[in-house]
Amino acid sequence: MNHRAGRCYSPGMRPLSLWRHEVRRAGWAALLAPPIAAGIVVVVAVDGAARLGQPSRDTAHLLQSLLEIALPLAAGVGAASLVGVDPAVELHLTLPTAYRATILRRLVVTAGWVAVIALTAAAVMVASGWWHRWPAAHPPLAGQLTWLAPTLCLAGLGLLAGAVSGSPATATSAVAALWFFDLAAGGLLQEHRWSRLLYLFATTRGTVEADWTANRLTLLAAGAAMTTAGWLLLRRPSRLLTKEAE
């Protein structure tokens, strides 16, 4: 008997080693996407600071946009790329660890990494004073909802779209289309209360002040609901079988 292999895999990988494995298999690209998205906005912010009428206020606003707009997109696309990419799903489905649990674990790793980047960025902003240079910024603690709510919402949508379509291309397009639509139609979406509650970028692209907390909680609830719906849909193995061969 191969004792080394036995130690690794029986009686089933321990949860901690499963987590470690998932973090390692995510690869450099998954880990790079959020910092790249963040980096683009930081470059824009630093560059803009030199030429704007009110450099510090507008730059601080852009840094908040990084948290609310750039990072959640990375989480959403990452979540949309989970279903339909494994080459040996049938094999996964025979293992004692449910494959949908593996997918959920990968979702947590993807969104968790975005959360780490966002928290680090927010902590640096608070420590360096950039957080408060934007007059409309929320207090630092509640202000973490700036990134948490849209991240959870887009990640939930990505998982659900992936579970429904089984195709990363479709799921990613759904996430990107909603993201772009919210940016492009931001002004129009402010005009009804229901669309204000569901608006992804209520911190940096404007909402009625009294609606902000309700908006964040609605997004969190929507994200949780979509994740749950995706999880339930993935119960059926047919949803998990790869469509990549198409």
Binding site: L73, T170, A177
Partner: protein
């Protein structure tokens, strides 16, 4: 049948059978329909309900989709080239007596043609609807012209990027970057805080052709006081609009050549 024609035909037919390209194209138009329903009472889209000029209406109503369509093209086509390697058939195809460049060109044009069909149908439906609504059959002509001059070059560019990008980085990362690129191109203003391709001949929403050939009031093209990259903003004329088209198509061709070179290296 040559390898080029066979590959192009196969890719075209296979892509058309994928629900993904139909669904992903329908999503932006569906979101717009929601918006239109919300806004018809409020005047946000008033211009579109009053404008009777077929040329302007087609380019401005459909102009909404220029950037989202390019994103969709990039995302749908992202797995086409790397897919052969993933499925393990790249090595098999390489030992067939076919020219590898011809196969790649066939795959590129075949997948692009298939991806063009759903938006082409939507343009057709919208043009027919406008023609009947306003009794202006010329909408069909302008719809076709807008599609050929604005949508097809962007499709060829996004398709080229989708053949190169996923060879350099994992597909999900490429998809994030495609969204970022067209967001940067479509959402930034000429006088925004940082150098923007908006209103340049390299505009990724083809502002020069939109303005010169169709008179779109939404497109901005030409020099802008105090903006960076003004040397890329000549006066909008027919010549500069053609130059913008040539630059986008040339860029697409150069990227396909680079994708071919990289593919040859990585599959050896």
């Amino acid at each position: 049948m040559t390898a080029f024609a066979a590959t192009a035909r196969y890719e075209l037919r296979m892509q058309l059978h994928k629900p993904a390209i139909w669904i992903t194209t329908a999503i932006p138009f569906g979101l717009f329909a929601v918006l239109a329903l919300m806004e018809t009472q409020r005047g946000g889209l008033e211009r579109l309900t009053q404008d009777t000029n077929a040329k302007l209406w087609m380019v401005e109503a459909m102009g909404w989709f220029t950037a989202p369509l390019a994103m969709v093209f990039g995302m749908v086509l992202a797995d086409r080239l790397v897919r052969d390697r993933k499925l393990g058939v790249a090595a098999l195809l390489d030992v067939t007596p076919t020219n590898r460049s011809a196969r790649l060109a066939g795959k590129y044009l075949g997948t692009c043609a298939a991806t063009a069909i759903p938006p082409a149908l939507i343009y057709l439906v919208v043009a027919v609807a406008f023609a009947v609504w306003r009794d202006k059959p010329s909408a069909l002509l302008w719809g076709a012209a807008t599609f050929a001059v604005v949508v097809l070059p962007l499709l060829l560019l996004a398709g080229a990027l989708a053949f190169l990008g996923p060879q350099l980085m994992p597909t999900p990362l490429f998809r994030v970057l495609v969204v970022g690129l067209w967001f940067y191109a479509g959402a930034t203003e000429v006088d925004s805080e940082f150098p923007s391709p908006a209103a340049t001949v390299l505009s990724l929403t083809l502002d020069y052709p939109q303005k010169v050939f169709f008179g779109s009031t939404d497109a901005t093209a030409g020099p802008f006081q105090g903006a960076a990259l003004n040397f890329l903003r000549p006066q909008p004329t027919t010549a500069t609009a053609l130059l913008a088209l040539a630059l986008i198509l040339g860029l697409a061709a150069a990227i396909v050549v680079a994708a071919r070179a990289l593919n040859a290296r990585t599959s050896e």
